[in-house]
């Protein structure tokens, strides 16, 4: 860091000395750019992760399988459709137009009513017929407007999705980068949930643990991070957290090693990163 400060101070010196040392200034500018690049990197690089299709944290509980699935599907439905309805400006103008139309029609109705009250008091039948006509007109107009709106919305939607597909990485904040419809992500999260269950059962079956050997300490927890390749091969077995109990850590490590290879990943996954949290609380 000292060197960094010295560089900056040298840069300032260069400015103060009336650009005596152009070389220094040049370096200063470079460092400035590098800084900008660095901070931009800090901000945006984390979003470059294109493999982030699956939800971030799943805690799979064997007891409440079904409810979890439902939740996942609900969560994973992106709200891009809603957004696209709200966002286009054309639809707003249309709404205003329809409102204006409706107001006009209501005014006409009132006029008609007042006329009716004044002149056609006795002939109720005629009034009713007129009322019906007005109603018909009203509903027809509404239907037409609705149909038009729907068409426009669809147009906008198709435009938007095509944009999203072409520039998927360009807009870092939007959900649309995934480019999937609601059903698709739902299916994928379902698939990966099933896959998670497969992992759990396979590792459990390979996990040999004896509480007597571990001692009486019951608050054991170890987290192992693994990377699963497309064909199910396990790579990069790393302890994210040690339990502190040597035997427990060994047993957990062996369970992961024995479970290699895991089942093949569902389609669409180049790899899959999992943190396995081991806690033997089901024991007696």
């Amino acid at each position: 860091m000292n060197s960094l400060y010295s560089l900056i101070s040298r840069g300032f010196l260069a400015i103060n000395n009336g650009y005596k040392n152009k070389h220094n200034l040049f370096l200063y500018v470079i460092s400035l750019f590098l800084h900008i690049f660095f901070f931009l990197g800090l901000f945006f690089i984390q979003n470059f992760n294109s493999a982030k299709i699956f939800p971030q944290a799943i805690s799979v509980n064997l007891g409440s399988l079904v409810s979890n699935f439902k939740e996942e599907i609900n969560i994973s439905q992106p709200n891009s459709v809603k957004k696209s309805i709200n966002s286009p400006k054309l639809s707003k103008t249309n709404k205003i137009k329809t409102k204006a139309n409706l107001q006009k029609k209501q005014k006409q109705l009132k006029k008609l009513k007042s006329i009716k009250k004044k002149s056609y008091k006795s002939s109720n039948v005629a009034i009713n017929a007129k009322k019906k006509q007005v109603k018909k007109n009203k509903t027809d107009a509404l239907n037409n407007v609705l149909a038009r709106l729907k068409k426009q919305v669809e147009k906008n939607k198709s435009k938007k999705s095509s944009i999203a597909k072409t520039s998927s990485n360009a807009s870092p904040s939007a959900n649309t980068t995934y480019g999937y419809g609601s059903n698709k992500t739902g299916k994928i999260s379902h698939k990966i949930n099933l896959y998670n269950l497969k992992i759990i059962s396979q590792i459990n079956q390979n996990w040999a643990f004896n509480e007597r050997v571990a001692g009486t300490n019951k608050n054991l927890e170890a987290i192992i991070g693994i990377k699963i390749l497309k064909n199910g091969q396990i790579r990069n077995i790393q302890f994210e957290k040690n339990s502190g109990n040597k035997y427990f850590d060994n047993s957990v490590f062996k369970a992961v090693k024995k479970s290699n290879p895991l089942p093949e990943l569902p389609k669409g996954y180049p790899f899959y990163k999992v943190a396995l949290r081991f806690t033997p609380y089901g024991l007696k």
Binding site: L27, L34, N49, N206, K273
Partner: protein
């Protein structure tokens, strides 16, 4: 200028490092967390392939196979090791090599073995040399190796020493391989005391009273056995010195029953009734009363000391039915432990001090239960298998031995502390009862 350029490079390196770090952060983020909490295998799987025999084949008895069998059986008494069936092995090191360099550990990890034990036997006339090695198959480590030399008749001792070593490596305790088993067996309608190895092997009769003998108890050093006998018509307590073959008698008026030694002392507690009521007293080895422990109008019987000697569990009828109580000898506080069932008796304190095994006398059958010394977590270990009685713990608290009438005659059985793998320990003529393991002698 040169220094200046160097600094520039430093900065570039630092910036690159930062960028890399931010990348790594980004990757950490997309871990999916999965909880795994149900280990299917409760025992450590170990592979023990055939032992290599270095001697020529003139010898008819294959000591290699014999030693292997002793090792497999011995390790089953740990309660936490399971030997993988030989049929699953895809490789036989006995034909090639048994050292770390010669073993391909993938051959063993693929069948799920977490440890591998290889052995070599060399027979030298009447003596035998056994080399045993323990490997961690996943870490591909050599853990420990021992060479034992001795008479062929001592093969069990040698292999069990190695079992102790394995137990010590895994748990920090030597296990029960040095301990002895004492039990009662009927001989010609009389009940006599027998002593055998921990696994029921090699039983020897040590009393010849030709009478009824009951409830033997080991002293901590394994030199004395105290028991009740009706030799002289009255139930008296006898203390037998196993080395000197000396027997002394404690015979007060009334009954003198259920002796139990104070841990690490030659002092014992027993139930005496000379005062007219069954109460528990503390006695010297010569039969002098040190003090009275219980003082209650109900019958107090079956004393059992905690491993630290500070508490005593006993059975009392003070609440109307026989139940198990614990008395703190320092504070003199008495606490009732069992509340389930109308008749609970014969407490046995686990050597880790946390649990009591006892008999719950039921309407149909008697069963063995384990309960925490605070009265919590009561678990029934036997069910629907005749009468199960006389529980006693192994010195590592992993096993419980007991008697059962599930096959008709009363025999001695073993199970793990969680009630798994109940199996018959030994088959002698007559019926056997009252098993108890000795504590491991620290000198062995």
């Amino acid at each position: 200028m040169i220094i200046f350029f160097k600094k520039k490079y430093y900065i570039i390196i630092i910036i690159n490092l930062f960028i890399l770090l931010s990348f790594s952060n980004a990757f950490c983020k997309d871990y999916t967390y999965i909880n795994i909490n149900n280990p299917f295998i409760k025992k450590i799987p170990v592979a023990i392939p055939d032992f290599k025999n270095r001697t020529s084949k003139e010898y008819k008895i294959d000591y290699g196979e014999k030693a292997r069998q002793i090792l497999v059986n011995g390790l089953s008494f740990t309660g936490y090791i399971k030997t993988i069936n030989k049929g699953a092995y895809i490789y036989m090191p006995s034909k090639t090599g048994i050292t770390k360099q010669e073993i391909n550990f993938k051959n063993w990890t693929i069948i799920g073995a977490e440890f591998l034990i290889t052995g070599v036997i060399t027979e030298i006339k009447d003596n035998i040399k056994i080399e045993l090695r323990l490997f961690d198959t996943f870490k591909e480590n050599f853990i420990l190796g021992k060479i034992y030399t001795g008479a062929k008749s001592d093969i069990r001792i040698m292999v069990h020493r190695f079992c102790s070593e394995i137990s010590y490596y895994l748990t920090g305790e030597k296990g029960i391989f040095n301990s002895k088993l004492v039990f009662i067996s009927t001989v010609k309608k009389n009940k006599e005391i027998f002593i055998s190895d921990f696994d029921g092997y090699n039983p020897k009769q040590i009393t010849h009273h030709k009478s009824i003998t009951l409830s033997p108890s080991w002293s901590s050093d394994g030199q004395f056995v105290a028991y009740t006998s009706y030799v002289k018509g009255n139930p008296d307590i006898y203390i037998q010195n196993l080395k000197k073959q000396k027997i002394s008698r404690i015979g007060f008026k009334g009954v003198n029953i259920t002796p139990d030694w104070v841990p690490n002392k030659l002092v014992l507690a027993a139930c005496l009734s000379y005062s007219g009521d069954h109460e528990i007293y503390l006695l010297t080895i010569k039969g002098k009363i040190i003090k009275r422990i219980t003082n209650n109008w109900g019958i107090d019987i079956s004393p059992e000391f905690s491993p630290d000697g500070k508490k005593i569990a006993f059975v009392s009828k003070r609440s109307g039915t026989p139940q198990i109580y614990i008395k703190d000898l320092d504070t003199n506080q008495v606490k009732r432990i069992t509340f389930n069932g109308n008749y609970n008796t014969s407490p046995a304190w686990s050597l880790d001090g946390n649990r009591l095994a006892y008999i719950g006398v039921g309407k149909a059958h008697n069963n063995i239960y384990v309960i925490g010394t605070d009265g919590s977590q009561c678990i029934q270990l036997t069910n629907n298998a005749g009468n199960n009685e006389d529980p006693a713990w192994s010195s590592d608290s992993n096993l419980i031995t007991f008697t059962s009438t599930r096959e008709g005659v009363s025999r001695i059985y073993v199970m793990t502390a969680s009630g798994d793998e109940q199996r018959c320990l030994l088959k002698l003529e007559g019926s056997q009862t009252d098993p108890e393991w000795s504590l491991v002698n620290a000198n062995n």
